[in-house]
Symmetry: C2
Subunit: 248 residues, 2 copies
């Protein structure tokens, strides 16, 4: 069965977390909105589904995934569904719920990253809320980012199976998502992330190890991989970035 | 098995979404942090668990639920786990993922409600960010709230089983959560919610119907039910509220 992933065509954004799982597993999928607008693919096909009043299970927003007749919204929900199918989730129930909880914590982190550049309204440009964005970014880099990264570093250290994985002794979608988050943070906040590997060694090692997985490394070099850019969640605005020491 | 719910003792907050499910089902549970600080209950017991470096599956933040040795974090994840056990989730896989996706959309809405009064930093008081809070609230009430409420109204209308439930023809944790969200919005934004029943009739009817369920009605009248207050997610600050027409 070929999965159909629906997400905006020009940003890695939230869709990338699903792509990483599909690519690492070598699963067949169509990246619907990134195809030419013909027939049942292209951005219009995605927008049509969002507008379709006849859909039994209407999604609120991209990304969503179709697997045959099944339609699943929200990154964490999609990965919950794909995890066992792609052998990217632990099989034990407690560990599976733990992995899902970790993904939901990453979801919260992503929202906070997004809001560093859009603290007032998603309806307005960054340039129209830059002063507030500076305040929110300072608070994020000073209080929130260390809390999130410290938590995930601790999760790796306290994993009874060792710090190679977030959950258990095998790769999971959480490890793949951590790769993307760490990469995005380096892109958006290079000053704040200075010294990252020294402060969060297990996370830094995980990032490197996951990026070297053969199928994932090939994907990251391919033109299917979308670069971080100034329309996504992770954006590099120098005005919003500051070194850990200078954050106050 | 008696469930153990861990959440702050003085606000309905996110914990209330779990309480509603447990109460509607008549399930036995201990509201851990709301007990006197003795032995393995009380707020100290919750904080100890958050700090415990020896926990295999450490939670990031309350709420979390323990079921024997199982530990589950995040409201949507907890409801995903409890749903089938409390007969508050559809049994079919597609519907179950749809319910979970709806809960995750409610999670996003809650974050946006929270950020109306804390748009800059959770480390600072509302009073220190009131001007930005006014801006964010205006944008929220003008653009985001109608989008969210319109979506859930549409979900009810397009439910093939009828508009009595969000998913299928039976009560689910999504219906219970919608009750709490609608009640919270009325508390926080009475002006913005004026005319709610006329604009979102299916949601208003659902709210009323769910509140009349016998066990839930008894709970809502009991002293186990925490009132909305100015420390929770839904807070009533008149400066942040405005009638739909006057939002601009």
């Amino acid at each position: 069965m070929t999965y159909r992933l629906y997400y905006w065509d020009s940003i890695p954004g939230r869709g990338e977390f699903v792509r990483l799982a599909l690519e690492d597993a070598g699963a067949p999928y169509v990246d619907v909105a990134r195809q030419e607008d013909v027939g049942d693919v292209g951005t219009h096909a995605m927008l049509d589904l969002l507008d379709d009043a006849g859909t039994a299970f209407p999604p609120f927003a991209p990304p969503f995934l179709a697997d045959g007749d099944l339609m699943i919204s929200h990154v964490a929900n999609i990965l919950l569904y794909l995890g066992p199918r792609l052998h990217l989730a632990p099989s034990e129930e407690g560990a599976r719920h733990f992995a899902h909880g970790l993904q939901l914590t990453l979801t919260d982190l992503l929202t906070e990253v997004h809001d560093t550049h859009h603290p007032v309204s998603v309806e307005r440009y960054y340039e129209d809320q830059i002063e507030v964005a500076k305040q929110r970014s300072r608070a994020f880099l000073q209080h929130r980012l260390p809390k999130f990264l410290g938590y995930f570093e601790r999760v790796l250290h306290t994993n009874p199976a060792g710090p190679q994985h977030a959950v258990g002794d095998k790769i999971s979608y959480v490890d793949l998502s951590l790769l993307q988050v760490v990469a995005g943070l380096h892109y958006a906040f290079p000053k704040a992330m200075a010294g990252f590997a020294g402060r969060f060694p297990a996370l830094a090692a995980l990032h490197q190890r996951v990026a070297e997985r053969p199928r994932l490394a090939a994907y990251l070099r391919s033109d299917r991989r979308l670069a971080f850019n100034q329309d996504g969640i992770f954006r590099h605005y120098p005005a919003l970035d500051s070194a850990p020491d200078s954050v106050a």
